[in-house]
Symmetry: none
Subunit: 236 residues, 2 copies
């Protein structure tokens, strides 16, 4: 799969470039391009904020215009806070990630454009994109900083990239026979302790108990712990 | 729908608390709790970094322990970078968001625990949670800062909030304080019965027990049934 390229357009603070680089590498993106960075490049502030990410990524490329920066790309998505009146598809980050997964699978190079800190992308730049990416957020407090926008888009790309398998497995529940065995013992011990007020209510109470204990999905190890608990409580 | 509570445990830098608050409000989360913040509370650094978020949120509450901070919550998820050897479900942020959407639809209060900047949550704190949340990231560069972890979890919550309607039917779990109360009693009764072989192993055994019993998601009624079981088993 071809990895997407992140393009920061007229970024101002070196710190923000560094934080964006860190967010990129967190999700395995390692190709960063800059269009006309205000304070030039390289940047000591960017290095410091990247927490080592810039050293591990491909060398950052600097371009004079968006047009140059996207020349070798096949699909361009423009991240914007405001929605524009342009007849382009507006995607959520997760929809973009799906688009990316299928296009990059075909060998296409996908570029993600992010505008300057305050001003964002201008209309001509947005017009160069195939789609607009809009991050759904609290309408009363929607301002995300540059690195956070990069983080969220990178996160969604990363989810799409690896078909996500569970990170760790919980122990499997014990075979039902082990559970029954414990449950039978519990019933008999509760009987001795006078737990069931009346014979009439006993079946209902037992059903409720069974429901409770079944919900635990106890493993074999845990069933034997439960036996230990009963033994311990019955002692003396 | 009940909104989730974000709990920062022993946060160090006020700046990080402020950045986390901003990330929360970006996705509509407005209840922040702090456990033992290193530099006290309120914090001028936090105010500055929150970009106005702290003023718009509910007043931040400060607690001395995780136990106190989660007392009124019904479901606790612990965000950790390292996976622990605990028999708890490990969720991605989007799986957590689904869980949250269905539980909050039933009126349950969901709490998200985030540990201190470097050290994270300790094992006893993780043990109090029903599930562990792990953010899948680049294994070679996985370190996210606190605000970014909050941002990603908040983002997924926000996506899920709109989508899923409540499942309902099952009794809601008891508030965490009821569970603690039962668990404390169980521990003391097990002590009397000689359940814990050595003082050394006791903390680990208790963590495992807690994990088992938390999985049951017991309602108030069921917690009182558990008390009844202990009483009955202890009787001669």
């Amino acid at each position: 799969m071809t990895k997407p390229v992140v393009i920061l357009v007229r970024p101002q603070m070196g710190e923000n470039i560094g934080a964006a680089a860190r967010a990129m590498l967190n999700f395995g993106l390692d190709e960063l391009r800059l269009v006309a960075p205000r304070d030039g490049w390289p940047s000591a502030q960017a290095d410091a904020m990247s927490a080592g990410a810039l050293d591990k990524m491909s060398a950052v490329q600097v371009f004079e215009s968006v047009c140059d920066a996207i020349a070798d790309c096949h699909y361009i998505a423009a991240t914007t806070a405001r929605l524009r009146e342009m007849n382009k598809p507006v995607l959520t980050p997760s929809e973009l990630a799906e688009t990316y997964a299928s296009r990059s699978g075909e060998g296409q190079k996908v570029a993600l454009l992010f505008g300057a800190e305050r001003s964002g992308l201008n209309n001509d730049e947005v017009a160069m994109a195939h789609s607009i990416v809009n991050i759904p957020a609290n309408p009363d407090f929607s301002s995300l900083n540059l690195a956070q926008a990069v983080l969220l888009v990178g996160y969604e790309m990363f989810q799409a990239q690896c078909a996500i398998e569970p990170v760790a497995e919980v122990d499997p529940p014990a075979p039902q026979a082990d559970f029954e065995n414990f449950f039978t013992r519990l019933e008999s011990e509760l009987d001795k302790g006078g737990f069931f007020r009346t014979e009439e209510l006993k079946p209902i109470t037992l059903r409720n108990l069974r429901t409770m204990f079944l919900r635990g999905d106890f493993s074999q190890q845990e069933i034997s712990t439960l036996h230990g608990i009963v033994t311990s409580l019955r002692s003396k």
